[in-house]
Every structure is written in C-alpha cells, then in structure tokens.
C-alpha cells in the first residue's frame, strides 16, 4: 500500500538520463520549472509537453509508474481546476445559480491543470532518474559558492541526504508495523472517522519510537567515527562533467530558445490564422 508513493523514489532503468551529472539535471529541472511561467500560449504548452514526452521516453521510466505518484497531489490538481473553472470572469457560457462557467475559465483551468501536471511530472522525472545520494552531491557541489558567505552547504546537504535516506526505511517500517498490528486484528480502513484516527495510534507510537531509536543509533555511529564532515573531506567519485553533460546543458538553452520563439513569435502569427487559439 505504501509502496505506491512514487514522489522522490528512484526508478533504476539505466537510461542516458540516469547517467547524466546530477547538477545538469538539477539545472534542467529548475529551468523547466521557470519556463512554465514564461509562456502563455497554446504553442508554448505544445513545446513544453513534447519536450517532457521525449524526456520520459528517453528515461525509460514507465509513464504509468509516474502517474501513480500523482495520486498524492490529485486533490490539489482538482482544486485548482475547479477554482479556475468557476472563478474566472469573462464570457459566460453556462450558469447555475451562483456558479458561472466562462470561456476564459475553461481556458485557464485547462492550462493551469496542464502546467501543474508538467511541473509535477517534470520534477518527479528528476528524482526518478537520480539517486538521493547523487542529488545531494549535485546540490552540494552546485551550491559550493555559498560557503563563502557562511552558508553551511555541506551540513545542509548531509541533513538532506540523511532525511532522504530515511524515507524508504521509515516507509518500510510503517508497512511492517501496520502488518504486525493487522496480525493482531487491527483494522485501518473500516469504521467511523473517529475509529480510524484511533487506529493510527498503534502505528504512530511504535513508528516514533523506532525513528528516535534509529536517529540515536546513527548519531552514535557518526560520533564513534569522529564524523567531522566538510573540512578536508575528499570524495571517492568526485562529480565531473562529461561530453554528454555539456550537450545536455546546450539542449536546455535550445529548449528555452525554441519555447520563447514559439510563444512570442510564432504564436501571434498563428492566432491570426486560427483566432480561436
């Protein structure tokens, strides 16, 4: 049941995307997210969508697997859609009491929904193709410059990698505790709301106890090895850009250029021909 959460999960399929330098992927994601707010025309969505589809194909992560991860944000998506559908003013095409459906509303709702969808799929594409360790490595190296202004980059990256590392462990632990309590006759999906909340106590108490125990053990192990982190620490696999990473960087700017061209130059031309877009 809990294995269905795919956000932040790694999917090993050994594609080109998996082999890219994490810094490239981080930058790609950042650029992609920013680009979401640049365009506003139909053509822009086509460019962003096609790029995403191509990237998904390259990554060889099954699309079904990604959409499973959307479950968690399903509510947000629907909420955004409904809000945009009925709250945008403009040309009314359907009305029921206070609910007004406008042409502009439909347009914004569809585009907003798509935008969110792209955002989520785009960023989960990064986490699906990058191991948490690579990700924090990339962050740490990418943000190295901030050390000069006394930002504890290494410590933050370490905290992040520990937190990320513990997500699957705690999920597994939760799964195990749920099974153990189910074996004692606990019921999690039946009964009234009050009963269901109560049913969580036998899960959360052992989960918290185990989380603290693990945190303690880890702290002890780090202390015992005189963990000092940052200073004078060398890496076994230092991050190095390869040819493929340079190409990937180049492609990002190509994407941005195409997007802006399509959105700002091509779209106005098209609108003249097909005014409904």
């Amino acid at each position: 049941m809990l294995r269905d959460i795919t956000i932040g999960q790694y999917y090993p399929s050994g594609s080109v995307l998996h082999r890219l330098d994490p810094r490239v992927k981080l930058f790609w994601t950042l650029l992609y997210i920013v680009s979401m707010f640049v365009f506003n025309t139909f053509l822009g969505y086509v460019v962003a969508g096609v790029t995403l589809i191509v990237l998904i194909k390259i990554s060889r992560v099954p699309f079904k697997f990604m959409v499973k991860g959307l479950k968690a944000v399903w509510m947000l998506l629907i909420f955004t859609l409904v809000l945009n559908l009925f709250m945008t003013s403009g040309e009314v095409i359907w009305q029921w009491k206070f609910l007004k459906l406008t042409r502009e509303g439909i347009r914004t709702a569809v585009f907003m929904g798509l935008r969110l969808f792209f955002l989520i799929i785009g960023s989960s594409l990064m986490t699906l193709t990058t191991t948490p360790n690579q990700l924090t490595d990339g962050l740490e190296t990418g943000l190295r410059g901030l050390k000069k202004i006394k930002v504890p980059v290494h410590e933050l990256a370490m905290m992040m990698s520990i937190a990320l590392r513990f997500i699957p462990i705690l999920l597994e632990e939760t799964d195990k505790i749920m099974k153990a309590q189910a074996a004692r006759g606990a019921d999690f999906d039946e009964g009234k709301f009050k009963d269901r909340v109560k049913a969580l106590v036998p899960i959360f108490v052992p989960l918290f106890v185990s989380a603290f125990r693990r945190a303690n053990d880890l702290a002890m192990a780090m202390e015992a090895r005189c963990y000092r982190g940052d200073v004078n620490r060398t890496r076994m696999n230092p991050l190095k850009y390869k040819q493929i990473d340079r190409i990937a960087y180049l492609l990002q700017f190509v994407y941005l250029a195409v997007l802006i061209c399509a959105d700002k130059l091509l779209a106005p031309l098209l609108t003249k021909v097909l005014p409904m877009l």
Binding site: Q181, R184, G185
Partner: protein
C-alpha cells in the same frame, strides 16, 4: 489445517524492481505439528509466513485454511488472523500501549470479545510466556529486551490462535533471554497443543524442538522432513549457507572413523544415548 498450493509471490510485479520471492511453494501443514522453517537471508521465509494469515496476497497459487480459499470474497481474513497468529521479527517494536496488560489486550479487544474474556485471555497469555504479575502495570518500554518480546508474543497468544507462527523469535537476544523465549514457546506448544511454526537461524533450537523441518532456498522448498531426514543432508545444507547442529557433525565424523553408530544424531541427548549404547555393546 493449512494447505498451500503452488504459491508464488513477486514483489512490485511489472516494474524494474520486480523481485520474485516465492516460486510455486506447495505445503501441507496439519494441526498440532511443530514445524521449523530454516533458510538463508532472502530465501523467502518471511514472505512465506506472511501468506499464512493473509497479510500478503500471492501473485500465483492458492492458500486453503481448513479447506477454504483464504482469498475467497466471503472469507474473513480478519478472523483468519486471529486463528493464525503471526509474531513478527523483533515483535517488541510493535508495542505501543501505556501498560503491559493494555498492550496484550489489544488483540482480544479487536476481536470484540466480552470484557471478562479479554482479561482472562490476557492474564492467561502473560502467565504462559512467564511474565510475573508485578510487571502487569509497568510500561512495556521499561522492560528488558527478552521481557518485551515475551509481552509481544503474549499479545498474539491472547487471541488464542490455532496456529502460532514466530519469525526469528530469538534474534538479537542474549543467551538467557533466548532460553526464556524458547521455554515459553515450548510451554505454549505443550499447554495448548496448537500448531507452532518457528522460523529460525539457529539449527540447535530447531533440532531440539520440532517434528518437521522445512528448508527454504531461493523461494522454493529444498527439503521437507523430520530433523533427522533433513540434517542427514548436512553437506548439501552447507552449500546453501546453512549448517546442521554440531552434534550431527560429531556423530557423522564418528561414523566416518568407523564407530558403529546407527545414524547421525540431531540432539545432544540423542547422541549421548547412541554413544552410550555403542560403548556398552
């Protein structure tokens, strides 16, 4: 009686992480037997036992409890779980209540039993596992490792299961704690005469108590028989990373050197008996 018919299980089927854990396992578990399951880490032991009370749905094959398919639509798996009690590895990690008694009561209360019956079963179970009454109102988190584990076992026992499955009940305990647990399990078996399935790494523990041993290897059953039948294959067992009890090696070595023992032994008592009889001869 439990009956498994060609049960297979694959984790995350259809994705890149798909991992077969069980492959067409067929077993018959009659009432009242004391069974030991041994196998290397990752041989599918833990996955197998989670099938027995319907916590995991097999991806292939059928499991029958008293002749009924446990994944039938009108079969109550919640009830099955009270009949097939499963004690997980490190069961003390599932304790959550404020007192020992309340924690043990959790199972019977979920069965919606009468108050009196709940209390009766709780005290009975705690007595069987050897928890003295001054600990009844203590916090389960204040107990020693072995005590915690016995309380957790009592929590399952209080549901009065007909089959009790224990996954590595002695893992991570000191010798004293280990003996206490094993004694408790033996007492349960003797007092209630239920089916007990013991998953273990310790060949000595298994050989001492059980009537039948099931050896798991790569998700299938490699050997299934009495301790003597299974441990006679000590050389093959070694190849899959397992070992027979020390006395089996001793008696096998004696036989090789020409000491005329009738067979290899699996327990110290048995070996002593054999050697004594040989010497008198």
């Amino acid at each position: 009686m439990l009956y498994l018919d060609k049960v297979s299980y694959t984790y995350s089927p259809g994705t890149a992480m798909a991992m077969p854990a069980l492959h067409e396992v067929s077993l018959e578990i009659p009432d009242g037997q004391f069974i030991g399951i041994i196998g290397h880490t990752g041989s599918g032991k833990s996955t197998l036992i989670q099938h027995l009370n319907g916590l995991v749905k097999p991806t292939g094959g059928v499991i029958y409890y008293n002749g009924r398919d446990i994944w039938d639509e009108d079969f109550s798996r919640k009830e099955l779980r009270t009949k097939v009690g499963l004690v997980f590895q490190y069961p003390e990690h599932q304790l959550f209540e404020t007192t020992v008694v309340k924690d043990v009561e959790f199972g019977p209360r979920n069965m919606k039993l009468e108050n009196l019956e709940v209390q009766l079963r709780t005290f009975e179970a705690l007595k069987t596992v050897g928890i003295s009454d001054e600990l009844y109102d203590a916090s389960p988190f204040d107990l020693s490792g072995g005590q915690k584990r016995r309380v957790a076992i009592a929590g399952v026992l209080a549901m009065k299961p007909e089959v009790l499955v224990l996954d590595e009940p002695t893992a991570g305990l000191d010798p004293a704690g280990r003996d206490e647990i094993l004694e408790a399990i033996f007492r349960i078996k003797r007092e209630r005469n239920i089916t007990v399935i013991l998953v273990s790494h310790s060949m000595e523990d298994v050989a001492r108590f059980v009537d039948r041993i099931i050896v798991m290897e790569h998700g299938s059953v490699k050997y299934d028989g009495s301790p003597k039948e299974v441990f006679r294959n000590y050389k093959e067992l070694e190849e899959i990373g397992l070992a027979a009890p020390d006395v089996t090696y001793l008696t096998a070595m004696l036989r090789e050197r020409g000491v005329g023992l009738p067979d290899v032994a699996t327990t110290v008592e048995e070996a002593a008996d054999m050697i004594e009889r040989y010497c008198k001869h």
